[in-house]
C-alpha cells in the first residue's frame, strides 16, 4: 500500500502545482540583489543564507495540500482500514512529496545561486548543501502539515511552527555554503538525518491525534 501511496503523492504533486515552490524560490533569489544592492562581495557573503531562506519559505507553500485534504476526505481512515500504520503513511507522504519538491528545487538552485552571486566553488557548495537539505525540508513540511491538519488558519500556523523547527538546518545549511573547511556540512547532514528519521513518527502520532 505504501508504494501505491508514494506513486499517488507524486501524481498529485505533479498534477497540482509542483512548480509553485520553485517559482517562489527563484523569485526570492531574484529579489535579494534588489534588496541589498549590486555589491558582488556583499552578495557573495550573504548569498548562501539568502538561498536557504528562499528554500525554507518555498517549502512552506505545499504544506496545506499534504495532509489536510486526505484527512478531511477519509483517505487516512481508509488507509488505516487496509492495515497501513500511520507512520508508514507519514513516510510514504515524505518520499512522495520529496520526489516532486527536492529535484526541482535543486535544479532551480543553479540559477538561484547565480542570482545571489554564488559561482565557482561556492556554487558547488551551495548545491550540495541544498541537496542534503531538501529531504529534511520535505520531511518537516509533512510533519507540520500533519500537526496543523484540521485547525483553523492552518496555513499561517504551519509557517509559525515550521520556521523555528528549521533553525538548526538553516544554520548549518547556510554555513556549509560559505566555508568548505568547516564541519558545517557534516552537522547539516546530521540534523537532516535526525529530521528525516523522526518526521514519520511525529506525522503518525499527529494523524492519530487528529482523528475524531
Amino acid at each position: 500500500m505504501t508504494a501505491a501511496l508514494i506513486v499517488r503523492e507524486v501524481r498529485r504533486g505533479l498534477h497540482g502545482a509542483a512548480w509553485l515552490p520553485v517559482a517562489f524560490f527563484l523569485l526570492i533569489a531574484t529579489i535579494v540583489p534588489f534588496a541589498v544592492g549590486p555589491d558582488a562581495r556583499l552578495l557573495g557573503r550573504i548569498g548562501g543564507g539568502a538561498l536557504w531562506i528562499a528554500a525554507l519559505t518555498a517549502a512552506l507553500l505545499p504544506i496545506e495540500r499534504l495532509i489536510e485534504p486526505d484527512r478531511a476526505d477519509g483517505v487516512l481512515d481508509q488507509l488505516t482500514m487496509t492495515g497501513t500504520a500511520d507512520e508508514a503513511v507519514g513516510a510514504a507522504k515524505m518520499i512522495g512529496h520529496w520526489l516532486t519538491f527536492g529535484p526541482l528545487l535543486l535544479i532551480a538552485a543553479v540559477p538561484g545561486s547565480f542570482l545571489v552571486g554564488l559561482d565557482g566553488p561556492a556554487l558547488a557548495r551551495s548545491l550540495i548543501s541544498i541537496a542534503i537539505g531538501t529531504p529534511a525540508l520535505a520531511a518537516l513540511s509533512v510533519a507540520v502539515a500533519a500537526l496543523t491538519a484540521g485547525l483553523p488558519r492552518a496555513g499561517a500556523l504551519a509557517g509559525l511552527l515550521m520556521m523555528p523547527l528549521a533553525v538548526p538546518l538553516v544554520i548549518f545549511g547556510a554555513a556549509a555554503t560559505g566555508d568548505g573547511e568547516s564541519a558545517a556540512l557534516k552537522l547539516e547532514t546530521a540534523v537532516a538525518l535526525l529530521i528525516v528519521a523522526g518526521a514519520p513518527f511525529v506525522t503518525g502520532a499527529a494523524i492519530r491525534a487528529a482523528r475524531t
Binding site: M1, D77, T80, M81, R211
Partner: protein, 184 residues
C-alpha cells in the same frame, strides 16, 4: 469458530460526554447487527470505535479484518472511478463494480458522481476489499430504489459467504437483523 467481532464492556466518551458504557458486541459468521437510535446517540462513533479509528474509554475489542463505508468518500476526485477504486487494491473489485452497477460509470471522473453514485462506489470498495467484517455507517443514504436493492443483495450474499455486517442506520434494513438500540 471464533467470532468476527467481539467487544466487551465498551465505553466511549466524546467531548466530555459518555455516549455509552458497558456495551457488549459479538458478531459471528453470517451475523448482521443493526445499530439504531436517534441522532447523536453514538451510532457513527460506535462504528468508528469498532473500525479502530477511535479508542474506547473502557473495554476491549477484537475483530477480524474489516472494511468501512462512512460518509467520507476517500476517492481522488480527478481520477476516473475505476482508477480511483483501483488505488485501494481490493481483490474483488470487478465483482463489486458489477454488484453495484458501476461499470457504466467506470470512466467517469469521481468529481462528477452524484450522491447516490458516490455511495455505491464506497459500498463497492467495502465489497472489493474481501474483508469478512463490513462496517457500514448509514449505507442507505442517497441510494435510489435500485441502489437499495443492490445493497440488500450484496449484504445477503456477503452473509451467505460467512461474512458479518455491522450497520448504523436510523431506517430499517431488509432481511434478518439483530437490532441494538442506542439511547440519546
Amino acid at each position: 469458530m471464533s467470532p468476527l467481532l467481539k467487544g466487551h464492556g465498551l465505553a466511549l466518551v466524546r467531548g466530555g460526554r459518555m455516549l455509552f458504557e458497558g456495551l457488549d458486541l459479538e458478531l459471528e459468521a453470517g451475523d448482521a447487527l443493526h445499530i439504531s437510535g436517534p441522532n447523536g446517540s453514538g451510532k457513527s462513533s460506535l462504528i468508528r470505535l469498532v473500525a479502530g479509528l477511535l479508542r474506547p474509554a473502557a473495554g476491549r475489542i477484537e475483530r477480524a479484518e474489516a472494511a468501512l463505508a462512512d460518509n467520507l468518500l476517500a476517492l481522488d476526485r480527478e481520477l476516473t472511478l475505476s482508477r480511483a477504486l483501483a488505488f485501494w487494491k481490493g481483490p474483488r473489485l470487478g465483482d463489486a463494480m458489477r454488484a453495484f452497477a458501476l461499470e457504466d460509470l467506470a470512466h467517469l471522473p469521481v468529481r462528477l458522481l452524484s450522491t447516490g453514485q458516490a455511495k455505491r462506489a464506497q459500498l463497492a470498495r467495502v465489497m472489493a476489499s474481501g474483508a469478512p467484517l463490513w462496517l457500514l455507517d448509514e449505507p442507505q443514504n442517497g441510494l435510489d430504489r435500485k441502489g437499495l436493492a443492490e445493497l440488500d443483495e450484496a449484504i445477503a450474499a456477503h452473509r451467505a459467504q460467512g461474512g458479518a455486517v455491522l450497520a448504523a442506520s436510523h431506517t430499517p434494513l431488509a432481511g434478518q437483523w439483530r437490532i441494538m438500540e442506542l439511547e440519546a
